[in-house]
């Protein structure tokens, strides 16, 4: 018997979406398979979120198809949003929406994303990085086949961004789900990506991060600056910060936490 590739989780073919007279997406083809991280990049207004909404089944395409594997479960983490300050909602309550989750279950999901200490905190008091991790934990509780992260780096500081991507990569290896990542900025995400789809209303180019950053279409969209700025992200910090902002010294034998006496660093 020949080894057959499993069918994709999501298969988009010839997708076209228009709002009133404006064509936002046209001729989009895209497959997402189990266990791979696909990154969607494109400038602001390129239709990335519209494509995500079509994949999630939130809008009807004008033409083309979006095929989902039967019983596909999404773990969707939308763009950073604010919860009204009048709504008293702790992290554990947010995880229990819309389905009740036991405290142990919630705690486990939170520790998987390194945010167990937030469980009783009000949502409105979380930092950008904490909020994204909590939303990730909420998505994990659904046992997703496909994780969809829309601009997960918004409001996350630079050192937290790398940590967040490492986390997504680790969770993918552990759970084997597919990941669809949306970003307007490739160099932040390329280390954690298997495949990049560069789009601006249509698919401009696609391939490995390495190939895409050298593709003339990519350079046309983002300019040669984008390719050069990749170098910035290859330098090493001599220390890092954990989620609470405490300094983590990077030794060869692994990180250790140095407690700063309340002053921060």
């Amino acid at each position: 018997m020949t080894r057959q590739e499993p069918p994709p989780l999501v298969s988009v073919k010839g997708l076209r979406v228009s709002f009133e007279d404006r064509r936002v997406l046209d001729g989009i083809d895209l497959d997402i398979r189990s266990g791979e991280i696909v990154t969607l990049i494109g400038p602001n207004g390129a239709g990335k979120t519209t494509l995500v909404r079509a994949i999630l089944g939130l809008l009807k395409p004008e033409a083309g198809t979006v095929l989902r594997k039967p019983n596909l479960t999404f773990g969707y983490v939308p763009q950073r949003f604010a919860v009204d300050p009048t709504l008293p909602l702790t992290v554990s309550r947010l995880l229990s929406l819309p389905r009740k989750r036991g405290r142990a279950e919630s705690e486990q999901a939170l520790s998987e994303v390194g945010a167990a200490y937030t469980i009783d905190k009000p949502i409105q008091g979380l930092s950008g990085g904490e909020f994204q991790r909590v939303m990730l934990a909420r998505a994990l509780l659904r046992r997703p086949d496909l994780l969809v992260l829309d601009e997960p780096l918004q409001g996350v500081d630079v050192s937290g961004q790398a940590a967040l991507f490492e986390l997504v990569g680790r969770l993918r290896r552990l759970h084997g789900f597919g990941v669809l990542l949306v970003s307007h900025d490739l160099h932040l995400v390329m280390r954690a990506t298997d495949r990049v789809i560069c789009m601006n209303h249509h698919v401009c180019c696609h391939g490995t991060p390495h190939d895409v950053t050298r593709h003339p279409e990519y350079l046309r969209l983002f300019g040669p600056e984008a390719a050069r700025s990749l170098a910035v992200y290859t330098h090493m910090h001599d220390h890092d910060h954990d989620l609470r902002g405490e300094v983590v010294t990077l030794h060869e034998d692994g990180p250790t936490t140095r407690r700063a006496g309340g002053g921060g660093s």
Partner: protein, 271 residues
């Protein structure tokens, strides 16, 4: 002694019944920033009053019907994207209100005491009104309890709720219907102009003392009940209009809730 008079107790019961519903429902009005929605829907009550008189039924049913019709129309018209929701709502609600007033003007020989509709006439409620308040109020509260988590989820992020398979449109519609029913039963207590205040003031006053949505809902109901009882007591003692007195009491409770000295009273379970 006036306190022993049946109409006083009847009024208290009616007011307490309304407060028990407007408190929890009002929390969602506050969380979802729908104060203008409540206000506009209340204004369509004039159309409902005209409808009730035309058909010879209790205005309460007319008001419920008009509010439900406007809510349904709003959801249907929201599919177009040119006009903002609040503009659309303003057109529907004020158009309905004006239509109601014009219709009332056409009715010859009928004197309508508009003032009692505007500000409520709680001391004139009958036993049948009390039954309606508790009957319709229980249905609204039961629906709220059943939809609680779904409504919270839709409040937090409607797109996310929809992506996870929640029937967002149906949930929003159900919530609007609950508000419509509440407006119909609250109208006799505080009047059309002040219904929104019974939705938002107890909820806003409850925020400071609540660490979960459920506690805020219960605190809002309790604060609403205190406002009704103290407002009515004040109204009877000083012979002031009952509806506005209740709202003054609620506003005073809200002001007290903001006092810095009360910050330690938050009902918390934080570790």
């Amino acid at each position: 002694m006036i306190w022993e008079a049946e109409f006083v107790w009847r009024a208290m019961m009616a007011g307490v019944g309304v407060a028990l519903v407007t408190g929890p429902l009002g929390c969602f009005v506050v969380w979802r920033r729908m104060a203008y929605f409540g206000n506009s829907l209340a204004h369509t009550a004039f159309l409902g009053i005209a409808l009730g008189i035309l058909l010879g039924i209790d205005p309460m049913f007319g008001i419920a019907a008009a509010a439900i019709a406007v809510a349904l129309l709003l959801v249907m018209m929201q599919r177009q994207t040119q006009l903002a929701d609040d503009t659309l709502l303003g057109i529907l609600a004020h158009g309905g209100m004006a239509l109601g007033l014009v219709t009332l003007g056409f009715m010859e020989g009928i004197r309508v005491d508009l003032l009692s509709y505007l500000f409520g006439d709680v001391l004139a409620v009958r036993w049948s009104d009390v039954w309606w308040i508790y009957g319709a109020g229980s249905v609204a509260l039961l629906a709220l309890i059943l939809l609680w988590r779904s409504l919270l989820m839709v409040t937090v992020h409607p797109e996310l709720a929809a992506a996870e398979g929640a029937p967002v449109l149906a949930i929003r519609l159900a919530f609007m219907l609950m508000i419509a029913v509440t407006i119909a039963i609250a109208m006799k207590i505080v009047g059309i102009l002040l219904i929104t205040s019974m939705l938002i003031i107890p909820a806003a006053a409850a925020r400071r003392f609540s660490s979960t949505p459920e506690r805020m809902a219960m605190a809002a109901a309790a604060i609403g009940v205190v406002a009704v009882v103290s407002g009515m007591a004040g109204s009877i003692t000083w012979d002031t209009p009952a509806g506005p007195s209740i709202v003054v009491a609620a506003t005073a409770l809200f002001a007290i809730s903001r006092l810095p000295a009360l910050s330690g009273f938050a009902i918390r379970r934080e570790t």
